[in-house]
C-alpha cells in the first residue's frame, strides 16, 4: 500500500534533519581508532617473533641432525675398542708368568749398567752427574720392576697400560719421574757400594710408595666397560644432561652476578 501524506511528511522532515554530535564524539572515535591501530601494529612483532622461533627451531633441528650424523661415525670406534680390550683382557690373564721373566732380564741389564758405571767411575774420574743420573734413572726403573715381587701389583700396572686410557698412561710416568728426582739427590755418592745402597733404598721407597698408591683394577675395568657398553642414546643423553647442567650453572652464576 502506498504511503499516505503523513508518512511522506515524516520521511521528508526526518531525512532532512541533522543533529550535531557533541565535541567529544570525534575525540572518542579518534581514541578508538588509535587503539585499533596499536593492536594491529602489536600483531606484526608477534608475527616476527613467530618467524624467529620457526627459524630457531629449524636451526636446532639442523644442528641436532649434524650432531647425530657426526656421532654415528664416532660410534664405530668405541665398538672396535671394545673388541680390542676383550682380547687384551684374555692376554692379561695369561701373561703373569712372563712378567717375572722380563724383570729378570732387566735385572741383568741393571747389573751391567751399574758395573759399567763403576768401571767408568774408576777409570774416568770426570763423569758428569747427569750421566750418573741417567743411569740411575734406568736402574730406578729396573729396580721398580724388579722389586715388584707381589704379582698383583704387576697385574694392576699391566692393566693400566693395556687399557690404553690416556689418563692412566700419563699419570704413571709422572710418579716415576718424581722418584727419579729423589734418586738423583742420593746418587751424588761416587762409590759403587754407596750407589748400590742408594738404589736399594730407592727401591724400598718405591715399594712403600707403590703400596700406598693402589689402583683397583676391577673397578677401573668395570668403569671402562660401563662406558664402552653404554649405548649411543645413553651417551647422547649423558652429554646433553652435562651440557644442560653446565648451562644451568652458568645461568645461575650470571644471575648471582
Amino acid at each position: 500500500m502506498a504511503q499516505n501524506k503523513l508518512e511522506n511528511q515524516i520521511k521528508e522532515k526526518v531525512s532532512s534533519r541533522e543533529i550535531q554530535p557533541s565535541a567529544q564524539a570525534w575525540d572518542r572515535l579518534d581514541a578508538m581508532l588509535t587503539i585499533a591501530e596499536e593492536k594491529k601494529t602489536k600483531r606484526s612483532p608477534f608475527l616476527s617473533f613467530q618467524f624467529i622461533g620457526i627459524a630457531a627451531s629449524v636451526l636446532v633441528f639442523v644442528t641436532l641432525g649434524m650432531f647425530f650424523f657426526t656421532q654415528k661415525t664416532t660410534k664405530i670406534k668405541p665398538q672396535n675398542n671394545v673388541v680390542d680390550t676383550e682380547v687384551k683382557k684374555d692376554s692379561l690373564v695369561k701373561e703373569p708368568n712372563f712378567k717375572f721373566e722380563i724383570p729378570k732380564s732387566k735385572e741383568n741389564q741393571v747389573a751391567v749398567s751399574v758395573k759399567n758405571n763403576s768401571t767408568i767411575n774408576n777409570q774416568q774420574s770426570t763423569i758428569s752427574n747427569q750421566r750418573v743420573s741417567i743411569n740411575n734413572q734406568k736402574t730406578a726403573i729396573n729396580n721398580q720392576q724388579q722389586n715388584n715381587q707381589n704379582p698383583l701389583i704387576n697385574r694392576d700396572k699391566e692393566i693400566e697400560l693395556q687399557n690404553t686410557s690416556d689418563v692412566a698412561l700419563k699419570d704413571l710416568p709422572k710418579i716415576e719421574t718424581r722418584k727419579e728426582i729423589v734418586v738423583q739427590g742420593n746418587t751424588n755418592a761416587k762409590s759403587d757400594e754407596a750407589l748400590l745402597a742408594s738404589l736399594d733404598k730407592v727401591a724400598k721407597q718405591s715399594n712403600t710408595q707403590k703400596s700406598v698408591v693402589k689402583v683397583d683394577a676391577k673397578s677401573l675395568l668395570s668403569q671402562v666397560d660401563g662406558e664402552l657398553e653404554m649405548s649411543f642414546r645413553e651417551k647422547v643423553i649423558n652429554r646433553v644432561s652435562k651440557n644442560y647442567k653446565e648451562v644451568k650453572v652458568a645461568l645461575a652464576n650470571r644471575n648471582n652476578e
Partner: protein, 186 residues
C-alpha cells in the same frame, strides 16, 4: 563537472581513510556525522545513547572501508551500517520480541493534513514500541520492503506487515491525542 570533482574528492578521501589517514577520516566523519546521528536518533530515544551507537558505527565504517567498492552511494553505505548498528543494539540490549499476528487489519488511509515539526514527529515516533518503531522507520523512512525488513530483523514478512499496521494505527491515535492536546480539548 562539479559533481565529478566532488565524487573524485570523496574517492580520494576514502582511499586516504583506508590507509588510516586520520585527517581524511575526520573529514568523512564531520561530513556525515550530523546526518547519521539523526538516523540513529530515529531508532534510539536517548540522544547520548544514539551518539554512542553512531561512534561505534563509524568505527565499523572506518574498519570496513576497504570493503567499499565505490559502486553505490557512500552516504547510503554509511547509513545502512548505522541502521544495522541501531537494530542490533535494540535487539541485543532491549531483547525485543516480535509477536506474529496474522489477523492484523489492513492499513487505513488517513490523510492528516496538519503539519508537524520535526520534534513532534520524533516525539510521535518515540511513542511507538521498539518493534513497531523499527519496522515503521525501516519501511516509511528508509524505504525498505517488507521482505528486506524480514531478513534484517529475522522475522516473517507477515510479521513485518502486521508490525507496520499496528505502528500506523498507534501513530494515528497518538496524532489525534496530540492534536486534541494542541487544541486544548484534552
Amino acid at each position: 563537472m562539479k559533481v565529478i570533482n566532488l565524487h573524485q574528492e570523496e574517492r580520494e578521501l576514502i582511499e586516504l581513510a583506508v590507509d588510516n589517514n586520520r585527517h581524511a577520516q575526520q573529514k568523512i566523519y564531520s561530513k556525515y556525522a550530523s546526518k547519521m546521528l539523526s538516523v540513529c536518533r530515529q531508532y534510539i530515544k536517548d540522544l547520548h545513547q544514539a551518539e554512542d551507537i553512531m561512534i561505534t558505527a563509524f568505527m565499523k565504517v572506518f574498519t570496513n572501508l576497504k570493503n567499499f567498492e565505490h559502486k553505490g552511494n557512500f552516504e547510503g553505505w554509511i547509513r545502512r551500517i548505522m541502521v544495522n548498528e541501531c537494530i542490533s543494539y535494540i535487539r541485543v540490549q532491549k531483547k525485543v520480541k516480535f509477536i506474529e499476528d496474522e489477523n492484523y487489519f489492513e492499513e487505513r488511509h488517513n490523510d492528516i493534513e496538519s503539519k508537524f515539526s520535526v520534534e513532534d514527529i520524533q516525539f510521535l515516533i518515540d511513542s511507538l514500541p521498539d518493534g513497531y518503531r523499527m519496522v515503521f522507520n525501516l519501511y516509511c523512512i528508509e524505504g525498505y520492503k517488507h521482505q528486506e525488513i524480514a531478513t534484517m530483523l529475522g522475522i516473517n514478512e507477515g510479521t513485518s506487515k502486521s508490525q507496520l499496521s499496528h505502528a500506523r494505527i498507534m501513530l494515528q491515535d497518538n496524532i489525534k491525542t496530540l492534536k486534541n492536546y494542541d487544541n486544548g480539548t484534552e
